[in-house]
């Protein structure tokens, strides 16, 4: 780990975050269990950086992002943004802090109220948190529209009159309205097509540079995350599998899940594509209501060991800034596991270097 004194400030600190959705059943609707959408997740984000968060559908990425912004009442854990505790803040305090943290949503169509004009959508946060005069407000709205590259003439239009990329810009303008420091981007490009994805990503990058924003960039598009993120976190079934600086993660993934994930991404190059061997994961993701015992990847892991079925691996730093939750790298696991792990590690590193 780098020395704390010369690293940038940690803007967001998450530790032990848990977000359980209760399951009720029976005649009396007693609680019979939980969907452990996010289960004991810890990480931090430095000021001005982009943390990519990847994983398969349903692994809890969105839930994690929403829990950080307290859009859900979190089950447990601490979330600090800009030094202030969020997870347990009272309503008024939370409302005061809303301007510092904002969100851009996955589905640009669904996240815009179809019955509001662009101006009123972008103006809504201003109404909520500022006391600008009508004229000032309009001025600010136009300014924001310029910022995200929307023609001012569109102010009176409705969301359905825009293309997906433009809609996403509206969403971004809304998020920027209050000069936030931290923005959670929940799959902002998933619903867009390639050429437009690039526009949106560029816009986000440009804004980050200009305004010094910090992003949590949620996506399952690994190539795009590689492009935009400084560090990347991989989630699987509600838990962190791996977190590492971008280059390290893409060049030398440690967790078998990350490997599989990376190998599955098609490359727009037929020559490469035809030669590449894919690691195809078998089966579906287990239900987060009923995760497997031990390591939660053990049901699909190509390198599964005996220990994986019984002991849950801890999330540990195995190289500077590189965290993994896998028995292959576990420092304090039992002997049998340890030998296996070190062998596997060797093999693994070789694989990574080949890629």
């Amino acid at each position: 780990m780098l020395d704390a004194s010369n690293t940038p400030r940690k803007l967001v600190e998450v530790s032990g975050l848990k977000m359980y959705f209760p399951i009720h059943a029976g005649v009396l609707r007693r609680k019979v269990g939980d969907v452990k959408a996010v289960d004991n997740v810890s990480f931090h984000i430095f000021e001005g950086e982009t943390l990519g968060l990847v994983g398969e559908s349903g692994c809890g990425k969105s839930t994690c992002g929403r829990a950080i912004l307290r859009l859900y009442e979190v089950t447990d854990g601490i979330v600090k943004i800009d030094g202030k505790e969020i997870a347990k803040a009272d309503r008024e305090a939370l409302r005061k802090m809303r301007p510092t943290m904002q969100m851009v949503f996955q589905d640009p169509q669904a996240s815009l109220n179809p019955r509001m004009t662009v101006a009123s959508i972008i103006g809504e946060p201003l109404d909520e948190h500022t006391k600008l005069s009508k004229k000032e407000k309009l001025e600010r709205i136009y300014e924001l529209m310029d910022q995200v590259g929307l023609n001012r003439a569109f102010a009176n239009r409705y969301p359905h009159e825009f293309s997906g990329g433009q809609r996403q810009r509206i969403g971004i303008a809304r998020a920027l309205a209050l000069n936030p420091k931290f923005i959670v981007c929940d799959e902002p490009i998933a619903a867009l097509d390639v050429s437009i994805q690039a526009q949106v990503v560029n816009l986000l990058e440009e804004l980050q540079e200009r305004l010094g924003l910090t992003y949590l960039f949620i996506s399952h598009d690994l190539s795009m995350v590689r492009h935009i993120a400084d560090r990347v976190a991989v989630m699987y079934l509600g838990q962190m599998a791996e977190l590492a600086p971008r280059e390290a993660l893409y060049a030398r993934p440690k967790h078998p899940y990350t490997e599989a994930l990376l190998s599955a991404v098609p490359d727009p190059d037929p020559t490469l594509e035809s030669e590449r061997e894919r690691i195809i994961l078998k089966g579906d993701v287990p239900s987060p209501a009923n995760p497997p015992k031990g390591c939660n990847f053990c049901t699909r892991c190509p390198k599964v060991m005996e220990i994986c079925h019984s002991v849950e691996p801890t999330f540990e730093e195995v190289a500077p800034g590189h965290y993994v939750a896998c028995h292959l790298y576990q420092s304090n696991s039992q002997n049998a596991g340890a030998t296996g792990a070190s062998e596997a590690r060797k093999e693994h590193i070789q694989q990574g270097e080949e890629a």
């Binding site: 509001m116 309009l138 409705y158």
Partner: protein, 294 residues
Amino acid sequence: MRPPRNQWWDVWDQFKTHKGALVGASIFGLVLIIVLFGPYVWTIDPTYIDILARNSGMSLAHPLGTDQLGRDLLARMMAGGRVSIAVGMTAMIISVFLGTLIGVVSGYFRRLDGALMRLTDLFLALPLLPLLLVMVMLFRQTLATQFGVNTGIFMLIVSAIGITSWMPSARIVRGEVLALKEREFVLAAKSIGTPSRRMILRHILPNVMSPIMVAATLGIANAIITESALSFLGLGFPPDFPTWGRLLFDGVDYLQDYPARVFWPGIAISLAVLSVNYIGDGLRDALDPRIRGR
């Protein structure tokens, strides 16, 4: 460049393009004008009895004929229209307001849901007639002394109809709200820190407009007809106080001998109901920007 203009202009622009709605609106407007200003032109007192002119047919003196006491039907139709339309509109507004309020609250605040839905069951199960009897007995005198006989009874009738007809819309609205709550734009508003009240007013309500419009258009028809049944039961306006429903009801006895007596109020009610329905169709489209664009 145009500054953002009032959204209602957009609504109006779209409304103008809906043919059915335009026809409906013009007919309804015409009916309104006749009913509101007609009495200033056609000045016969609707309760004036001209016993010599009993049961006369259409003539210049009485364009729509007269009733069994020789009262002028045209004057009665206009006076009746005022009341019927006012009752229909007001009762509909009360009913829609209650239905929307309860539907939205129970859909939006999970904690209140169970209780409010049971309340809805309760109202669905209440026998209308005894309930009305009780209401009339308990409040008629007070209201009549407070606001005058006709206003008092008007208030009583519209609230009676209103509070006994909001349940279906409450159920529908609740369902819509439950679905809306899961939509991302609600979450987006939450992330901005929008409080519940504004969340409902700004994001939920406009999006449950279309079932509300349907409930409202049907509600007017329902209220006009219920009012006639109430007058019939003696719970309504004083007997010499004409309403369309009452004229229709009174006319039924004379159906064979003087069919015009049922024809005119029947036509008036149907026309009002139909035109309101088409207006509702148009409004629903006009209120939805997605349809508007097309």
